[in-house]
């Protein structure tokens, strides 16, 4: 799940870094003021613990890969705030990059994926699903699973923007891997949360879960759905790379020229797909379709 250096062009990586930096700053502010006291030291120590617990690897049978916990959803749920996840994941990812997991220029993107998207989606989908009267552990399992799958999709898009991996195959492969890893993440998150709330009920801010305003949950759901809906047309299109290809010819073919040593920001496409008026309609329709499906699913879950 860690994008390595050089797989995202510098300009794009910089944009991700800027976004990540804003979130990091906000998360530090949270740690300074949102808890009882200035608990920065506590998070420094906890980050070390998170780093170490991520080294507990479970090899997945008959495959070269192994599973380890990411913990974004877990941290967000325990501290009743996605900002906790952003802060801890940032610290962990920074140290991991020194050991060759992930990279320096791409750290912004990795923080966005695992910390921001993972933390926010994990937390708010857990809250939303428990509001839909799912049991705590089911909602938590789903939250943790979503916190793995959405970053995977985001990563596929980033790699596609970067031109290093085709979109559909990327989404397919990453969802497959992360979907499987998400099951482990979900199960472990439920077990770990249970054990922690038993041993130290005072750490777990469960009361705060109930206080999250429905408006906030709804707002987040809409943002997430909008994101998915925007993504959908690209996935639905038979030739997403074709889109990008056309876009790049429209904008001009500056990449192959040896004159510019530095790859320009978004070299081959404007915001992909935006150039085409016809596609706007597709986006709107796609949005509506996904929204309907999503609502349908939540209805079914609510009944079950």
């Amino acid at each position: 799940m860690h994008i390595p250096d050089a797989y995202i062009p510098l300009g794009q990586a910089a944009v991700y870094w800027i976004i990540a930096a804003i979130f990091i700053a906000r998360s530090i502010k949270w740690a300074r003021s949102d808890l009882d006291e200035n608990m920065i030291p506590l998070f420094g120590v906890l980050a070390a613990g998170m780093f170490v617990l991520m080294t507990i690897n479970i090899p997945i049978p008959m495959s070269p890969v192994s599973w380890h916990m990411v913990g974004a959803a877990l941290t967000a749920i325990i501290f009743a705030s996605p900002w906790a996840a952003v802060l801890l994941m940032t610290l962990v990812l920074a140290v991991q990059s020194l050991y060759g997991d992930g990279g320096i220029t791409v750290m912004g993107a990795n923080i966005i994926n695992m910390g921001i998207i993972g933390g926010f989606s994990g937390y708010y989908s857990y809250i939303a699903l428990s509001r839909l009267s799912l049991t705590r552990s089911k909602a938590m399992f789903a939250g943790a699973w979503i916190s793995m799958i959405l970053p995977a999709i985001a990563l596929s898009f980033e790699m596609w923007f970067a031109g290093t991996f085709p979109l559909k195959q990327g989404v397919f492969l990453m969802s497959l891997f992360q979907g499987a890893a998400g099951i482990g993440e979900g199960i472990i998150t439920v077990i770990v949360f249970g054990a922690i709330s038993k041993a130290r009920p005072d750490i777990v801010a469960e009361d705060a879960h109930k206080k999250v305003s429905t408006a906030k949950v709804a707002a987040f759901s809409i943002i997430a759905l909008a994101g998915l809906a925007l993504a959908a047309p690209f996935l639905a299109s038979s030739n997403p790379d074709g889109l990008q290809h056309t876009a790049s010819t429209v904008i001009g073919n500056g990449i192959n020229s040896a004159v510019s040593p530095i790859t320009p920001l978004f070299p081959n496409y404007a915001i992909p797909g935006m150039g085409m008026s016809g596609k706007m309609a597709a986006i709107v329709i796609g949005f509506a379709v996904v929204l309907v499906i999503w609502l349908g699913i939540s209805k079914i879950i609510k009944k079950g």
């Binding site: 990586a13 613990g49 780093f51 170490v52 997991d101 031109g163 070299p267």
Partner: protein, 271 residues
């Protein structure tokens, strides 16, 4: 990769000219080299000699640092696979930013190896290799604590520096703690692949291990926080990093790195 957290630190405490260099210089140099490598155009054959030059420069520093060969192979072996597999697929992919492809081989299932894809794949791998080399050099010649204080000297925000300082300190505490927990579990016959016990139960024990590590790090955090209060910790607290003068040799090394980059960018064209 993590089986050797403490081993990595040990390499960083060796003595060599590279280890002695100012941490700030090493950080700036690493950033410069990585940014330059990443910024190189994506389809230019001339990039190869450029990247080779950077890699050679880094290799010389590694030699000077007298890092163990087995240790380096190990570091590369754990860092390369993911990047390599993506690069390996490139020849089979029609990159969206390339308009014309020359097909080199046709394989079954409609797979095609393209010349452009091959070029792009090898180039991106070469860049990635340079970046990884730079990071490995940095992390195996500079202790984590030196890295954090250098970053602080370079203007990393106070609170981030405090966070990283503490994280670095307790990484090792928890690493040793995890080792002890695992030892105790082994003592009682625990084995992930034990067929005599239900999978579900095994998984549960892993969950408990993680939660106990989490709780213990949380509690360590609480206690540490208290002891820091004893020493006057407050919202404006800073970590002490002290002043450190950069030596002439440090500046020279940095200048050399810049020189290598300039030579790579402009010099190679005239060859």
């Amino acid at each position: 990769m993590h089986a050797t957290l403490t081993e990595l630190e040990r390499e960083a405490y060796r003595k060599s000219p590279v280890h002695r260099m100012d941490g700030r210089i090493k950080i700036i140099m690493t950033l410069l080299l990585i940014v330059y490598a990443v910024a190189l155009p994506r389809m230019e054959v001339l990039d190869f000699p450029r990247l080779l030059l950077l890699e050679a420069y880094l290799a010389v520093l590694m030699l000077l640092a007298r890092l163990e060969f087995s240790y380096l192979t190990f570091r590369f072996a754990i860092a390369l696979p993911f990047g390599f597999s993506i690069a390996f697929l490139q020849p089979f992919i029609k990159q969206p930013f390339i308009s014309d492809f020359t097909v080199l081989y046709r394989l079954p299932f409609g797979l095609e190896v393209t010349g452009e894809g091959l070029l792009f794949g090898t180039l991106i791998f070469a860049k990635f290799l340079v970046c990884i080399t730079a990071v490995i050099l940095l992390s195996s010649t500079t202790s984590l604590s030196e890295l954090v204080s250098s970053a602080r000297r370079l203007g990393m925000p106070r609170e981030l520096a405090l966070l990283f300082t503490m994280m670095v300190r307790y990484l090792f505490v928890f690493w040793i703690m995890l080792g002890r927990i695992r030892t105790a579990q082994k003592t009682r016959g625990f084995d992930l692949w034990n067929k005599k016990v239900p999978r579900r139960w095994t998984l549960q024990q892993v969950g408990y291990t993680i939660s106990s590590l989490f709780i213990r790090s949380y509690e360590q955090g609480e206690r540490t926080y208290q002891s820091m209060l004893c020493r006057g910790y407050n919202a404006d607290a800073q970590v002490y990093v002290g002043k450190k003068k950069m030596g002439v040799s440090d500046i020279l090394v940095l200048a050399l790195a810049l020189g290598v980059i300039i030579a790579a960018q402009f010099g190679l064209k005239f060859l």
